[in-house]
Amino acid sequence: MKVRLLHFASFREAAGRDQEMRELAAGTRVEELWRALGRELPFFARFASVPPAAVNRQYVDPGVVLREGDEVVFLPPVAGG
């Protein structure tokens, strides 16, 4: 299945792009996608835990199972205001 992964702010700069399509095995969880990113780029492996994540613009727990066509974002620390 495919999901769309969006990158923002410091994560966008580390990834070198603002979005990408990802081919994942059925049943892949949010936290497993995060660990896959860490294996590809040392920047994403530095974090002690999975950062806040959103699927289809809603905050989700890292154990949530991804579905075909999901829009996934890992959020750097937010700093609005």
Binding site: F8, R57, L75, V78
Partner: protein, 141 residues
């Protein structure tokens, strides 16, 4: 729409008051010229636009339930801002001031906590950094 790439029109927020209102509490966040002891020349705000709109909308609905006498408008700027420009504005209007102050305070505190907006500080020497309120005193209220 809660996000704007144009300068925030503060005067338009003042038009929110109706005859039954006796208080309008306006909070305006402005770009500070220094942070953590370093000089800032500009700030770039970046948002996950669709989610930020939904998240601010959720905050607005929660506040409407918690403060039924108060009407709240929130606007957040995105893009590149100079020192002294308004980055966020919140207007809380109600018959009396106590609930207007309380709702305005709650609105900005929540907006800073959950809305997917990020800011990058630019320094005079050309360097820059993403602000992380969880790591620095920049998250103080």
């Amino acid at each position: 729409m809660y996000l704007t790439s144009s300068p925030i029109d503060l005067a338009s927020l003042l038009l929110e008051a109706r005859p039954s209102d006796g208080a309008l509490c306006l909070f305006v966040g402005v770009v500070r010229g220094q942070n953590e002891g370093r000089e800032t020349t500009a700030i770039q705000y970046e948002a996950y636009g669709e989610m930020a709109e939904e998240e601010i909308g959720r905050i607005a609905r929660d506040l409407a339930r918690e403060f039924p006498a108060v009407r709240i408008r929130m606007v957040h700027r995105v893009g590149s801002l100079s020192v002294g420009e308004a980055s966020v504005a919140i207007a809380a209007v109600s018959p009396h001031r106590a609930e207007a102050f309380a709702a305005c305070r709650a609105a900005i505190d929540r907006l800073k906590t959950t809305v997917p907006i990020w800011k990058k500080e630019l320094h005079p020497d050309g360097s820059s950094e993403w602000v992380d309120p969880t790591r620095t005193a920049g998250g103080r209220r």
